[in-house]
Each structure stands twice: as C-alpha cells, then as structure tokens.
Amino acid sequence: MTGPSPNVLVVDDEFASLEVLALMLTGEGYQVYTASDGEEALQRLEETAIDVVITDYKMPKMDGAELCQHMLSDPRFRNIPVIFTSATYRQDVPRPKNIAAFFNKPLLFKDVLSALARILKGARSP
C-alpha cells in the first residue's frame, strides 16, 4: 500500500470477527477503528475521517442497515462506501444504496482485501 494509511471502520458485535479482521487489516497497513454496533459506529464517524466502513448486518442497538440509513441521511457520511457482511443468507439482507460490496460470513480475508483495494482505488480516481 502506498500513501497514507486509509482509515477503515470495522463494525461487528461478534468479538472474534471484530478483533481478527482488525488484526488482519492492521497487518496489511490499514488504520483500523472498531465499533460493536451502529450507534458506536456513528460516534467513530463523528470522531475520525473514515474512508471505508465494513459493517455486519445483525447487531444490537442499531443494525448495519440502520447504520447505512443514518449515513445516507447525513451529508458528511453519505459518500463513505460500505462493505456489508452478514451470516444471513444474502437474499434476505437489505441493500442500502451506499453498499459497495456484500459478503456472506464467514468472510474470506482475500475477498475483503481485494474489495477494499478496488473501492479505495475508485474513490481516489478523478
């Protein structure tokens, strides 16, 4: 990875998913922030300029779909691409407009990594 480390926010209520994805993305040179539900994710967005959000769908307090709706309704966050993940069969998962990629769980790290690279490349293109 060249240039400054992109800021990635990982949102997941499942401890191991959150910790391991954060560990692996950090290992690849990303600056990783974490949150355990949608509400906590909105706080991180307020605090830090996030480049990409990776969020789980099913979470307590505020789920991933609601988080996306909140982001879409806020001009500061509506253009932040979101990678959506879910252990639910993908046809049953809502698709908010800001979703750039969707992955069923268990995630394959190489897929996440390649999606991140493509999304960030697209975001940086004129």
């Binding site: 401890f15 191991a16 998913s17 910790e19 391991v20 994805l21 560990l23 692996m24 290992g27 253009n79 691409p81 069969y89 993908r90 407009k97 800001n98 979703i99 750039a100 990629a101 969707f102 992955f103 069923n104 268990p106 995630l107 394959l108 790290f109 190489k110 897929d111 996440v112 390649s114 999606a115 493509r118 999304i119 697209g122 975001a123």
Partner: protein, 498 residues
C-alpha cells in the same frame, strides 16, 4: 456509489472438504477435514500426534496445497525431521517449497497470546498456507492469563482460520479426560489418539470425539504407525455398513474339488455363499480348502488363501504332496496366499488386508484358515461376530464364494462346537469333519450339516487323506459302520444302570 457487488458464490454455505491423504482418516471423517476449520488432535506422548501432524502437512503439499508446521515448546525441527525421514510420506524437496517449519514460542513468550495470534496471521498470509499445524498447544495454555483469555484465543484462531480458509490443526499433549477445558469446546473437531491394552498387547487407537458440520464414524478405530506413517483401520462393521445392499443371488454351483463331496452337495456349493468346514486339528479342513481353491483355479477362477498358520512355502509344498498344482496356479496369478500371525494385527487391519488382496487379485474364491485367527486378533472379543458378519456380507456382495475353516476342541461327537458363537447362523453351508478310532484304525467321516436353499445328502460318508488329497467314499455304508461301532464302544464304556 461504486457497486462492485462482490460476494461469495451461494455455495460458500456448503462445507468444502480437504482430503488428508492419511490412509483411513478420510474414511473416518467421511471425506476429510473441513476447509478453514480448526481441529484439535490430542493424546499422550507416543500416540502419534507429531507423526500425524507432519504427515498431514506433507500429504497436503503433495496434493497441491501449502502447509506450515508451527512449534511452540516442542522438539527441535531438525530432531523431528530426522525421526520422520524414513517414513514414505517424507519428501525433503517439499521443505521450504510449499511446507515451512516455524518456531513461534518466542512470540508467545514475549507477547503472550496476542503475539502468537499475530504470528499465526503472518505465517498463514506470508506462506499462503492452506494447512497450519500448531504442535504443542500446552505452552499457550500455561501463558494465558486465565481460561477466558485462552477461550478468546481459540475463538480468534478459529476466526482467523475461517477468514484465510486455512485449516488449522492443534496438537495437544492431553487426553479426553481433560476435554472440559475451554479450548476443547471451541474447536470444530476433536480427535483423540490413545493406547489400548489387551492381553499384554498394546494397540494405538483413534477416536473422533467431535466433528462439526458432518457425520463421521463413531467409536475407537485401530491406528498403526509404520513405514508409511500413520494408517487408520476403521472398524469394518461401521465402515461397510452394507446390510442394506442385497447380496446377489446365484444359482451357479461351484465344485469343491472333491468329487464325492460335490455329489453329496448335489453339484457343489452355490456361488456367493459361505461355507464352514468344522473339525478337529488334523481332520483335513485345510486340505479341503486347498481343493476348493485348486478346482477354481483349474477353471480360471482366481482364489485367495487368507491364513494365520502355515507359511506360503509350506502350503505350496503340502498342496503338491496331494497332487494339487497350486504352485503353477500361483505363477499364473490364479492362487495367492496372504499369511500373517494373528497376534500382530487387529481385526480391522486384517479385514482391510483381506479385502485389498481380494481386489488386487480379483479373487472369486476365498478360504480363511481359520476363524480362530480373527478370534485371537480381536481386542474386544465381543466384536468378533459383528466383524465376521460384516466381512462375510461384503464378500457376498462382491459375489465371492467363501470357505471358512473352524477348529473344534474335540475330534468327534455331539460336543463338537464352534468357538465363535453365532457363526452357524451366518453361513449357508456347514460341513463337519470328524474322526475317531475304531480299534487300531483311524476313521474319518464327513457330513453336510446344512446347505441352505438346496437339497443335499443327509448321511455321513467316510473319507480318506491320500496322495490325491481328500477322497470321499462313494456311499454312506462305511460311515454308518463307524457310527455303529462308536455307539457300541460308548455303550460298552457306560456302567450299567447309569
């Protein structure tokens, strides 16, 4: 918004298996390890964990995967490889060429479980490993702050394995008695290697205690460590489970090779059936079995003698002495002899050996000399009848006509009985070979106790062991005389009034 809509294909929900290449293990697991899952192989020292762990790695690389073998506090890599290099799976050209050996204890000691997890991450990604074996998980346990921390570590390791699609195998020096530890509850599969003792003989066994997401063969199975590394011999009755498969019916008569006996059988035994020749030591059972194989070979039908007592050389010599041309048929591939002492093998190794040889030689006639070999090989004697049932069913399903030899403890009389209870119900044909002394003369007689679904002669006949093998008298007269004479002798010995 960029919509790259990238996703797993829907079949990502299906379980993808990785064949281990370890003989018998994939059968036990009904297909192999689940890709990206985490397993624990546990057992006391000497049960075969390290051999199995290394073998998994070598076989994985040979099948196109990439593997890493990570040690914590274990023997040095050099010492370990030195011990393995004589085994057939070992291939030094794969080391650092698809298979890496990594020491991770320092990362664990200096940075605790977080350091070890990061080391695992780096090894999997740097080596592009699709199989990781971590040998000696005990230090991680010892250096964990508490049970919760250890549980967290195992869950994270499980997640890491899943996300990288790298199957992880933990080797642990412990037994099922410790299986309530946190790491046991978190792994996807739990396999125990252990020792089992029977009559001063020690056997290695393997048991899959837990295997998420798929069925596996339950119970303990025999594990052998030899020049091919670890081989597993799943219990035959579980493995074949062939009771649902109907054995093909045959109306074809197979000659036994003893002319008058075939006449007593109204032409011979039916194809695909099982016969037992029951008799005391020296009564001619083995010779009868050799006739059966010889006459099949004469007709171009391959036969197998699966024996526990006489060596192949002695069998060939004996057969020549009675005019049976088994050496010639052996040279033409129509007679083969597998011989082994029963005490060196467990039942399932014997069963696997027999079926493999049947397959290799395309044998259509099999003689087992004798059932007592199986009885002696059984670690759990109560299993013997179930094992034999499964084996005979399998042979029937393969349209093989089988001839079993079973030795009695008495030479004649109503006390003659089989040494394994339940055998008579399993077989279609039962021949009784008896002998008794009439004055100074030894008289032998043969009778057909049963021939299922076929008429047969119901009287006994005298038979002789000659330079042409077994020769049965043309009628029942002489045997009747023997019986009458025996009855007279019994009456003479019985005190009056008893």
């Amino acid at each position: 918004m960029t919509d790259i809509a990238q996703s797993h294909p829907d079949d990502a929900w299906l379980v993808e298996r990785t064949k281990t290449g370890v003989l018998g293990l994939d059968t036990l697991l009904r297909g192999g390890l689940v890709r990206g899952a985490i397993y624990m192989v546990m057992g006391r020292p000497g049960t075969g964990k390290t051999t199995l762990g290394n073998q998994l790695c070598f076989e994985h690389v040979k099948r196109g995967g990439r593997a890493a073998y990570m040690t914590l506090l274990a023997e040095s890599h050099a010492a370990m490889l030195k011990n393995l290099h004589t085994m057939s799976f070992f291939d030094s050209s794969l080391i650092n060429n698809g298979l890496s050996y990594v020491g991770a204890y320092r990362a664990l000691r200096d940075e605790k479980l977080r350091g070890l997890l990061d080391m695992v991450r780096r090894v999997i990604l740097d080596e592009k490993a699709t199989l990781l074996v971590i040998d000696g998980i005990s230090p991680a346990r010892a250096l964990a702050e508490n049970d919760v921390a250890l549980k967290e570590f195992v869950v994270e390791l499980q997640m890491l394995s899943a996300m990288t699609n790298c199957t992880t195998v933990l080797l642990a020096n412990m037994t099922a008695a410790d299986a309530n530890d946190p790491e046991h509850t978190m792994v996807d599969g739990l396999i125990e290697l252990s020792f089992e003792q029977f009559r001063r003989r020690t056997f290695r066994t393997i048991e899959v205690l837990k295997f998420r997401g798929t069925r596996h063969l339950l119970g303990r199975h025999e594990l052998e460590i030899g020049e091919n590394g670890v081989s597993i011999h799943p219990r035959l009755e579980d493995l074949l489970d062939g009771s649902e498969r109907p054995a093909p019916a045959s109306h074809r008569r197979l000659r036994t090779g003893v002319r008058e006996l075939d006449s007593m059988l109204h032409g011979g035994v039916l194809g695909g059936t099982t016969s037992v020749a029951l008799g005391f030591s020296g009564s001619g059972k083995t010779t009868l079995g050799l006739h059966f194989l010889h006459t099949g070979a004469e007709a171009g039908e391959a036969g197998l003698l699966f024996g526990f007592y006489e060596s192949p050389e002695r069998v060939l010599q004996s057969s020549e002495r009675v005019g049976l041309k088994l050496p010639e048929h052996a040279a033409r591939g129509l007679f083969s002899h597998v011989w082994q002492p029963s005490y060196e093998f467990g039942l399932d190794r014997l069963g696997a050996r027999l079926l493999a040889e049947v397959e290799r030689t395309n044998a259509k006639r099999v003689v087992i000399d004798s059932l007592d070999g199986f009885r002696q090989a059984a670690i759990d004697p109560s299993r013997t009848i179930r094992f034999i049932t499964a084996l005979l069913n399998e042979l029937r399903t393969r349209e093989i006509t089988t001839f079993l030899i079973d030795e009695t403890l008495k030479p004649s009389g109503p006390e003659m009985e089989m040494r394994i209870e339940g055998i008579s119900a399993l077989v279609e044909n039962l021949f009784l070979l008896e002998y008794s002394m009439v004055g100074a003369r030894m008289l032998r007689r043969i009778s057909i106790v049963k021939q299922r679904a076929s008429a047969h002669e119901s009287t006994a006949r005298e038979f002789f062991l000659t330079e042409r093998g077994i020769e049965v008298a043309p009628d029942a007269i002489s045997a009747a005389e023997v019986a009458a004479h025996s009855a007279d002798q019994t009456a003479a010995r019985t005190p009056e009034g008893v």
